[in-house]
Amino acid sequence: MTDLLTIDYLRDYLLVGAALFALGMLGFLSRRNLIVMFLSAEMMLQGTALSLVALSRYHGNWNGQIFTIVILTVAASEAAIALALIMVLYNRRSSLDITLWRELREEAAPDVVPAIEEAAAAELIDATAGPETYPKLTPAGLEPEHPIQPWTERRR
């Protein structure tokens, strides 16, 4: 079998993979929105997976492919859990700002971001006030009945 994936092609793949990884890392380090950070982390993961696939193809064995399947599986599970956690966090503070969650810092640590402190000092959302709001979906067919969720359970 003639190997179509020569070293030149491999370089392109690796460059794209590295770019994905670097962009993801930049996003993770610079954005404060939890979901965007999460997406960035996924991007880093995909950069890695792309490199693995390319190298696997180049070397003509299946190791990298198998590894990538495993990575995809793990990433899917991680996404499920992480998004659920993000939902819970949003319900606690009505915000996805990562800097609001700093309980585990040392008391002696100086404030890196002064504005954060004000946000953190703000009162927690009054749990009982007003009706719940949910992200709106584009209406398509009948809206399903919302089952009782854990957080609504907690609010009652």
Partner: protein, 668 residues
């Protein structure tokens, strides 16, 4: 068939251990009598011991398995089946079997019944292992094992403070002696060829010839030091009388018949080495003599029946050491035979006396103070006559066992001055002195034995009642009612047959053991098969009528005097005590040995402990605490700022670190 018992000799320690484990694990769960597996196990060991007795040979050893191996230093589990070890084995397992049977009645109703028998099984395992092992190190391991069992059993009723204290005292005093044994082993290790600590190697003629002079004196001294602790000799005997806090079967088995003879066994086993140091031998003899005399003098006035027996044990062990010490020159064989013979007969009659005391105690509702009961010969007929036989044997009255063995010892002592002179030693006269002190001690022994017997069984009948003037608090063993004692039955009744039958069997042994083994020369013949026995100095057994007759006369005189004074209620003893009041008080208070130790050794220890505590708290602890504050200070002052709770900071730090690491790996 002979090879069979040698091949399987390891079963002798194994059976009691197995029985003990079964008793410990199963008895409370499956509700069977914990005494049964232990008794069966020890009984099986006894049968095997008899087989081993028949197949004993001076050079018969068997390697059971590997034990320790460090380079060329090898300590296998090697057992020696020779005359001495089989004799000890048979005696230990026989007495143990009877004591277990007795205890199954005596301890009935005790909440910790299975624990007791589990410990007994463990003890018999250790003791048989001790006498079987063919290696100083293995002997030492079992030596510690019996010490632990002794501790556990003295403190069996650990809720009682006196018992817990006595256990602690026994253990600590024994540790003091064990240090000597340990140093002796270290020393031997440095000088014997191949670092081989087996008796075969250490006690070989060639090895002993090549000993440096310091070791020739020092190692026997250290071994004797170890023996003084285990066998309760003069500087370290103080634990044994207190050990009577344990249950009476334990006192009979461990602190009279078996464990305390381990020291005698060790010295007898090493006789080939000790015979090379006549100076140490005379020391052993003098220490044994002094102990015998002192303990007998204390026993004269004790009111606690068990304590009389305890001091009598110390005294009789002193006799055994006297005999061992008398083995100068060509008397070595005779001395070993006399000592081991006395050990052998003593095990029977002392176990008998203790068990009979236990029977009395059982009947009197745990009262053991002889002033509080009396005239029990009609109420406790079996206990009475078995005690009488044991007492006669202890007093050395013909034809009981003690007569023959004590006679052997006195003969060895009588012959010692001459043997010492032939050796060119200048201290032969010491042995002459020791001989007369031994005779005096024999008289005292007969007297206090008779006193104990007449106070307990003779005179008008009297049962313990709580309003006795002597029923003081802290006096006696178990006067209080609510303590964890063994089961009570009706006060004043004879003990059940399960307790009296072992007494009768032991009484039979106390009568016969002397006659059968002594004059027939059986014991000597058997000890011919002891390792290294042939190499010991040998002299013709010179029999004279003088010593046995003298021994018999002083024994009878002692008993007669005790009958005169204590046979009937009599003001004479009190008048005599008043006449020599300081002496009487000194004897009653055990010559203040405990108090002297308290004010010298213990004070010294306390002072050094206080000094060490000061050093520890002020220097060691300060230093350690100081070192421990450093990481905390660094963390708080320098590193805390980086713990700022921002995930992205952490991620950036991680990424930077990985980048630096990659850089280093790839480009350096």
């Amino acid at each position: 068939m002979a090879g069979f018992f040698v091949q399987w000799v390891w079963l002798i320690p194994f059976f009691p251990l197995l029985g003990g484990i079964i008793a410990a694990v199963g008895a409370s769960r499956f509700r069977f009598n914990a005494a049964i597996p232990v008794a069966v196990g020890i009984g099986a060991s006894f049968l095997f011991s008899l087989g081993a007795w028949a197949s004993a040979g001076p050079e018969t050893t068997i390697v059971v398995s590997k034990w320790l191996a460090a380079g060329s230093f090898q300590v296998p589990i090697e057992l020696r089946v020779d005359g001495l070890s089989t004799l000890m084995l048979s005696m230990v397992t026989f007495v143990s079997t009877l004591v277990v049977i007795f205890a199954s009645g005596y301890m009935a109703g005790d909440p910790s019944y299975p624990r007791f028998f589990a410990f007994i099984g463990l003890f018999v395992f250790s003791m048989t292992g001790l006498v079987l092992s063919n290696n100083f190190l293995l002997t030492y391991a079992f030596w510690e094992g019996v010490g632990v069992c002794s501790y556990l059993l003295i403190g069996f009723w650990y809720a009682r403070k006196s018992a817990a204290d006595a256990a602690m005292k026994a253990f600590l005093v024994n540790r003091l002696g064990d240090i000597g044994f340990a140093i002796a082993i270290f020393w031997l290790w440095t000088i014997v060829p191949n670092h081989d600590l087996s008796y075969t190697n250490v006690l070989a003629d060639e090895t002993l010839r090549n000993f440096p002079d310091s070791a020739r004196i020092g190692i026997p001294l250290l071994l004797f030091w170890a023996a003084t602790a285990k066998s309760a000799q003069l500087p370290l005997y103080v634990w044994l009388p207190d050990a009577m806090e344990g249950p009476t079967p334990v006192s009979a088995l461990i602190h009279a018949a078996t464990m305390v003879t381990a020291g005698v066994y060790l010295i007898a086993r090493s006789t080939a080495m000790i015979a090379l140091a006549p100076g140490v031998q005379v020391l052993i003899c003098v220490v044994g003599c002094a102990t015998a005399l002192l303990a007998a003098a204390i026993a004269l006035t004790q009111n606690d029946l068990k304590r009389v027996m305890a001091y009598s044990t110390v005294s009789q062990l002193g006799y055994m050491f006297m005999a061992l010490g008398a083995g100068v020159g060509n008397l070595a064989q005779l001395a070993v035979v006399a000592s081991i013979f006395h050990l052998f007969t003593h095990a029977f009659f002392k176990a008998l006396l203790f068990l009979a005391s236990g029977s009395v105690m059982h009947s009197m509702g745990d009262v053991i103070d002889m002033r509080r009961f009396g005239g029990l010969r009609r109420r406790l007929p079996h206990t009475c006559w078995t005690f009488a036989i044991g007492g006669l044997a202890l007093a050395g009255i013909f034809p009981m066992a003690g007569f023959f063995s004590k006679d052997e010892i006195l003969l060895a002592l009588a012959a010692a001055p001459e043997a010492a002179e032939t050796m060119g030693l200048s201290w032969g006269w010491v042995y002459g002195l020791v001989y007369w002190v031994a005779i005096l001690t024999a008289f005292m022994t007969a007297f206090y034995t008779g006193r104990a017997f007449f106070m307990t069984f003779w005179g008008p009948e009297k049962l313990p009642s709580p309003d006795d003037p002597e029923a003081m608090e802290g006096e006696g063993h178990a006067a209080e009612g609510d303590e964890p004692g063994h089961g009570h039955h009706h006060v004043g009744e004879e003990s059940p047959p399960i307790m009296t039958i072992p007494l009768m069997i032991l009484a039979g042994c106390a009568v016969l053991a002397g006659v059968v083994f002594g004059p027939t020369g059986w014991i000597e013949h058997h000890l011919q098969r002891m390792f290294g026995f042939e190499g010991l100095g040998h002299a013709e057994h010179q029999f004279g009528w003088g010593t046995p007759v003298l021994g018999l006369v002083v024994g009878l005189a002692g008993i007669g005097l005790s009958y005169l004074l204590y046979g009937e209620p009599n003001p004479a003893p009190a008048r005599i005590a008043a006449a020599v009041r300081p002496l009487y008080l000194a004897s009653l208070n055990k010559f203040y040995v405990d108090e002297i130790y308290q004010w010298t050794v213990m004070k010294l220890l306390w002072v050094s402990a206080a000094v060490l505590r000061f050093l520890d708290v002020e220097f060691v602890e300060r230093a350690i605490v100081g070192i421990a504050t450093a990481p905390r200070a660094i963390g708080r002052n320098a590193l805390a700022v980086y713990q700022n709770g921002l995930i992205q900071f952490y991620a950036a730090a991680t990424a930077a670190s990985v980048a630096i690491l990659l850089w280093l790996l790839l480009f350096s």
